[in-house]
Symmetry: C2
Subunit: 433 residues, 2 copies
């Protein structure tokens, strides 16, 4: 029996692309790859922007600058897109899929915006579209949603899907660093970019939540916005309060059913109980916690970034696509459940931690408490800590609606003896963030 | 386009079997299952031992007592075996596979003993053999080893794969219970059997380690024995020591490469650092931690047992087998790497915690220390705790070979002023158990 050959074209040879090509060309792995792919994988070309830049591990004979030509080539079975960006990448991927060429990509932004329609295009032309590396680096969560959890009714997905913010929060927790120091350390280690906005304000996590929700619940992706709160407002005192109360602060991406047809998708920091599996996700690691109606809780954990770990996720997709190609099939695109209705974050109840800096003078607590009461936000516990003529008040509420809490905070900020509202962080209580 | 029909026969309708049939017949799930299976799944018969016993959720019209007839039937595409036991189950499975019928089973004992040869039989006849539910309940770790990690060089697999022992150790840690009380609680909750030997002495975990190793490293399964130490000797004082030192005690199943061609497989309790993801696996949960050469650390976590969670693992396999059947393919059996050589546990270095009860008299520490020195076991730290005329000595060693530690303990037990050797537990130090 002859082994079929599957021809692979790669666009992009940065950290991930170089690592992937290295894995595909590694002689020591050759037999294992043939076994896993049920085919010999042949790298036919690697498209890069600049031939003069070094591309370690990529033979010069494979390099080309003609990405569009590679995407349109009749000479490939699988196109691997690792260049990123929305355009012209979308055009490359459409060009390949529309000719029945399977596509593997790590392009989070493009998949968050166009994943559903591109998958449908591939389906119409008998091609796969896989993008495991777009969420959670090496964590094989998308394949799990496509396979292990197929047929399961998923109730909630909660993920630590941004390694930069998790590193910063871990540093604040274990080293007692303040936010600025931890951010500087993240930059020094290459975990944070010079402009860290996309990470620390939750934009990156939000794109991943969109992708997770599309596979877990069958939501259609169309340039959607989700509720988003970042970590730049988190202070050392909040981290300390969490520790004393038995929590750690994590930035969570959440997608969950609300009632029969509601779906909430959001990104926000949360106090996670120390004995929750997500509390044990440290530094730049990523993890996704899934609650299935029948399966119960499940969690996947792994490296959230890095060229080599991410390349293993891409390789897994290439192997899947190759096996499908050899057996003449392709994976069905995810189902779209068009009965789902977006539930605004403001309509969801949660327990909240709220901290205020106030003037330490008679009557301040009474006026603060009356504002909570006015907005139907009931207080579970309160801690007062004096700092000179100031006092810090830390409240934990009973379950309250986000919009009531927002209204409370807005009014609290107007009280003269309230110097500032420090933080407002959801508390995971009995599993509910 | 007509939807193909895949006919499923089920042997066994206990907790898992009933839950599975319930899922397959659930009208609300019908469309999702068709989508995931690329076929309509039709349950043709459910074989049980006793027709008069209640089988909740299984229509009486499907029940039969003729398991052998069902396995040999030309009328099924997939046989689901949930009856357990080695014989006649092996014969049923061979009968099905040898006629090209795919088999899904949760039979840990049979797979640990015959998994490789049965998979080969299926391969020869174009049939799948899947057994996700045999390891880790709902945790989809076997599929991950077959798919996401295909082509990766796995260095180590460490699992908490027995929920009974993890519940007992969790109770000892969080409630301060002694072993007997925690075991009684596990029995009361249905987590432990009347005779708990298979769980607490590590036999169950050992079978799962064999299965994990076969998929992670390509070891052939043939009635093999592995090094095994249970948890019945763990005392409250050991749990307390672990807590003070920043560890929790877990029963681990380990399979790891040693050098180029060595492979160690073993089950033993270990002190796991509190910030290790495995330390956050509580109660009856299971988790498997995998270290890949390129992917880095990965972990899967979920319910280790229970009818419904386990049924979701079986269902995932049925969906895989159905999709393969529809597209006329089957999964390749795992590769066997016949260059691997078994490394005895005695030849492996580890850090150890050793505790001794001794008479509190002059010279005892010197004589104890000299025994350590004689066997080349170097001490990293020592703690002495007086109890009346007795003292408890707790040692943490530097890396030492298991056989040197065993020899040390054997000789220590002979010293007159040593009343008893309480515990000898490996310490995970820098990732190495």
């Amino acid at each position: 029996m002859t082994t079929p050959v599957i021809r692979v074209g790669v666009i992009g040879a940065g950290y991930v692309g170089s690592a992937l090509v290295g894995l595909l060309l590694d002689e020591a792995r050759h037999d294992a790859l043939v076994d896993a792919a049920t085919a010999t994988l042949e790298v036919v070309a690697v498209a890069v922007r600049d031939l003069d830049k070094p591309h370690p591990g990529v033979p010069a004979s494979l390099l080309t600058t003609d990405a569009a030509g590679l995407a349109a080539s009749g000479d490939i079975d699988i196109l691997v897109e690792l260049a990123g960006g929305l355009e012209p990448t979308r055009a490359y991927i459409e060009s390949a899929l529309s000719r029945g060429v399977s596509v593997v990509t790590a392009n989070k932004a493009l998949m968050a915006e166009r994943g559903t329609s591109l998958a449908r295009l591939g389906h119409e032309h008998g091609a796969d579209l896989f993008y495991e590396a777009a969420v959670g680096g090496a964590v094989p969560i998308l394949r799990a949603l496509r396979t292990s959890l197929a047929g399961e009714r998923i109730e909630r997905v909660m993920g630590i899907v941004n390694g930069t913010t998790n590193f910063i929060l871990s540093q604040m927790t274990t080293e007692g660093s303040d936010y600025e120091t931890a951010l500087a350390e993240a930059k020094a280690r290459g975990y944070a970019e010079a402009d860290p906005t996309a990470d620390v304000e939750g934009f990156d996590a939000a794109a991943k939540v969109l992708i997770l929700a599309s596979l877990a619940f069958g939501t259609e992706l169309r340039d959607e916005r989700i509720s988003r709160q970042g970590i730049s407002g988190i202070r050392t005192v909040d981290v300390e309060f969490a520790r004393r109360a038995g929590y750690v602060i994590k930035l969570l991406g959440v997608a969950e059913r609300v009632g029969e047809h509601g779906l909430s998708r959001r990104v926000h920091p949360a106090m996670v109980p120390v004995d929750h599996p997500l509390a044990a996700v440290h530094g730049p690691m990523n993890a996704v916690f899934v609650e299935g109606a029948i399966s119960g809780p499940l969690m996947w954990l792994g490296e959230g970034a890095g060229g080599a770990p991410t390349a293993t996720a891409v390789l897994g997709d290439v192997l899947d696509a190759a096996r499908n190609r050899v057996s003449g099939r392709h994976d069905v695109p995810f189902m779209v459940d068009d009965t789902l209705v977006r539930v605004s974050a403001g309509d969801l109840p949660s327990v909240y931690y709220i901290s205020l800096d106030v003037a330490d003078e008679p009557g301040v607590l009474a006026s603060v408490a009356s504002v909570f009461g006015k907005h139907r936000v009931s207080i579970q516990s309160m801690e007062q800590f004096g700092v000179g003529t100031e006092a810090r008040l830390s409240f934990v509420t009973h379950h309250a609606l986000a919009r009531d809490v927002d209204a409370t905070i807005e009014e609290l900020a107007k009280i003269e003896s309230v110097d500032s509202v420090g933080a407002c962080i959801r508390v995971i209580d009995g599993g509910n963030p």
